[in-house]
């Protein structure tokens, strides 16, 4: 187990190295420069190159990357070019909103998919099952920003039930915070919910039809409902767990779009703003945080597998 964790951490470091290198070069390859953005379109070329030199941008990209990396390794993510604020401080301010949204969306997607799958399979290929399947397909095909806009139109504009945009932190006003979080959470959860439901329902159905242990349970006289809940659902949660790990990146990526639709001051919106202003240290800082989260979540899921699945648990303790 310890060896597995160390190996995964080592590969995680490699992933972070690769991701930051790629992003650094991409940001620098963008047309325009941070100096030109900061000085506006009236600036002279001399002024722009002077500011670029001040910011240290006249040196080769690779040199700057390793300077940045040197700082990052000691915990210093640098300062924003545009505001001068330390990047780590700026990120810390914006993490709570994004973390809250992705966490709530994940919870909705997981519990929603379990509920929908179990309800679907109470009568496979029945009306409810087909309706749920079709709805999930529609959700899967709907881009989350479109869903977000539709939700705003219906719930916020037409029925005025919930605010359409803006944010209050949970610490300031928990109730207003939750009211404002509902619509973006739903918009963000829709895609993963559809994906998990299709996966879970499919895997459960497959087990119900093909697994011999299900036949054994039937032969004991166990009811179909109990077979679904006690035997099949439990075993189908393992592939779901793997899938959650794979989709965490997608979920965080989705929050970039959703935060912009709903005007939420989170990491995603910050990332989009900094790309617009070519603010390389900020872009890199946010990417590092997102990539680290994905690596750590997947590591946690692997560890969780070892704790929950007896087959993996014993294989590991024997080796």
């Amino acid at each position: 187990m310890r060896r597995m964790i160390l190996a995964r951490l080592a590969s995680g470091v490699l992933v972070l190295f690769g991701v930051t290198l790629l992003v650094y070069f991409l940001v620098n390859a963008l047309p325009g420069s941070v100096a030109a953005v900061m000085l506006g379109d009236q600036a002279t070329e001399e002024a722009v190159s002077e500011l670029s030199a001040q910011l240290g941008l006249d040196r080769p990209v690779i040199v700057r990357y390793f300077e940045w990396m040197g700082g990052a390794l000691t915990g210093d993510l640098g300062k924003s070019f545009t505001s001068g604020q330390p990047v780590s401080e700026a990120i810390l301010q914006r993490i709570p909103a994004t973390a809250q949204l992705t966490f709530m969306a994940l919870v909705v997607a997981i519990f929603g998919s379990v509920l929908l799958s179990v309800v679907s399979l109470s009568k496979p290929r029945g009306v409810i099952d087909r309706t749920i399947s079709t709805s999930m397909f529609v959700l899967l095909a709907t881009p989350n920003f479109l869903l977000g806009l539709l939700l705003v139109l219906a719930v916020a504009v037409s029925w005025s039930l919930l605010p359409s945009s803006g944010w209050t932190s949970f610490a300031d006003d928990p109730i207003d915070n939750l009211r404002r979080a509902i619509l973006p959470t739903l918009a963000l959860a829709a895609g993963p919910l559809a994906m998990y439901t299709r996966l879970l329902r499919g895997d459960m159905m497959e087990q119900m039809l093909r697994s011999d242990y299900v036949v054994t349970a039937r032969a004991k006289g166990v009811s179909e409902r109990t077979i679904r809940l006690r035997h099949v659902l439990r075993n189908s949660l393992f592939p779901l767990l793997t899938n959650i790990g794979l989709t965490v990146g997608i979920l965080v990526g989705g929050s970039v779009v959703i935060e912009n639709v709903f005007g939420i001051p989170g990491l995603g919106r910050y990332l989009v703003q900094s790309i617009g202003s070519r603010d390389a240290p900020v872009v890199l800082g946010v990417v590092v945080i997102i990539a680290t989260t994905v690596v750590i979540v997947n590591l946690l899921i692997d560890i969780l597998y070892g704790v929950l699945d007896p087959r993996v648990r014993h294989e590991r303790s024997n080796s």
Partner: protein, 357 residues
């Protein structure tokens, strides 16, 4: 092992109670009859072997007895009487009152037939609880341990908390049998219970089934492709071919003087130690017809060395002759079937040592 103690001196049939009676059972899909008009009885306390090659319909018949047919396969006709009740048209709720109570089942692959993520003790306890919900935790645990001891699992206290993959194949099959025994069933259906096991373990599991039968007097329906297993373990045999019954009777009578050409070929195909080295083992040429492509006649006719023109045109009636211990040997064949056949030992109802001792 059961030695048959009753030695009949008269021609009177022993009054053996029938637990399961199958009458003219038809099981199939929309396009094919997998089991086509099968009738047999399972006497109390006896072992009945269902023998045949793959696709003969033996497993489908066994599963029909439990109401556990795969999706898309249904009972299309006939009756299955369990203690006199016809269960063949039961709904899922009614089936649960039969399964794991009057009938239990043991399956072919003991690793796959246990839930891989549930402790062995919990899987047995589930069956115990369904049969006797008022037992309580301590009572349940005691009963689970008792069952594990009954199936001769060493160190049962420790096994309770293990998972199926931690047990050997033979141990797993013992656990499956313990689950089947939880309800003291009157009939245990064993569907190829030893096919997935190695040879020594096979014998141990079959010995265990014999011992359990001697202890609690249940009937066993033993599904097997191996007529030697049937010969060693069963009292009666039902030879199936292409969804139909080819021959039935007391195992000793059928093995010693098979009447249906298919049974004869099956017995001739059993390898023995006195074959000439490097000679080809006897086989039955050809394959059974697909259930949707059977002719109007005897399904074995295309492969039968004795086949005549009439064999392709109609299914022969049952021919019957008296066997030992008041049983009857029955088969369907135009060529070998004539009325008033003498019994295999020449005299109807003659007494004999039990083949199964």
């Amino acid at each position: 092992m059961i030695a048959e103690t009753h030695t009949q001196s008269t021609t009177a049939a022993p009054a053996v109670e029938t637990v399961v009676e199958v009458r003219n059972l038809v099981v199939g899909t929309a396009t094919a009859r997998l089991v086509d008009g099968v009738s047999f009885t399972v006497p109390s306390g006896r072992t009945v072997a269902l023998v045949g090659e793959s696709g003969a319909g033996k497993s489908v018949s066994a599963r029909a007895l439990m109401g556990l047919l795969p999706a898309g396969v249904e009972v299309l006709g006939g009756e299955i009487l369990v203690n006199g009740r016809d269960v063949s048209r039961f709904n899922p709720r009614q089936w649960r009152s039969v399964r794991g109570r009057e009938l239990s089942m043991v399956f072919q692959n003991p690793l796959r037939s246990l839930n891989p993520t549930m402790r062995v003790g919990a899987q047995i306890a589930e069956a115990v609880r369904l049969y006797d919900p008022k037992l309580g935790r301590a009572g349940e645990r005691a009963r689970v341990l008792e069952l594990l001891e009954q199936v001769r699992i060493p160190d049962p206290e420790r096994r309770l908390f293990e998972y199926p993959h931690q047990l050997s194949g033979g141990m797993r099959q013992r656990v499956v049998i313990a689950i089947a025994l939880a309800s003291n069933p009157r009939v245990l259906i064993a569907d190829e219970p030893t096919t997935a096991l190695d040879v020594t373990t096979q014998a141990q599991i079959l010995d265990l089934l014999d011992t359990l039968q001697a202890e609690n007097g249940m009937s066993i329906v033993l599904v097997t492709h191996d007529i030697r297993v049937a010969e060693e373990r069963a009292h009666e045999v039902i030879v199936m071919y292409s969804g139909r019954i080819a021959e039935t009777g007391r195992i000793g009578d059928v093995v010693r003087s098979p009447m249906m050409p298919y049974t004869r070929a099956l017995i001739a195909a059993v390898p023995s130690f006195d074959v000439t080295p490097r000679s080809l083992l006897p086989t039955i040429p050809g394959r059974p017809p697909h259930p949707s492509q059977r002719s109007a006649g005897c399904a074995f006719a295309p492969r039968c060395p004795l086949a005549e023109a009439r064999c392709d045109l109609a299914i022969p009636d049952v021919t019957s002759r008296p066997g030992n211990n008041g049983t009857r040997q029955q088969w369907r064949c135009f060529v070998t079937g004539k009325t008033d056949q003498p019994g295999p030992t020449g005299q109807a109802g003659a007494s004999e040592e039990g083949e199964k001792a």
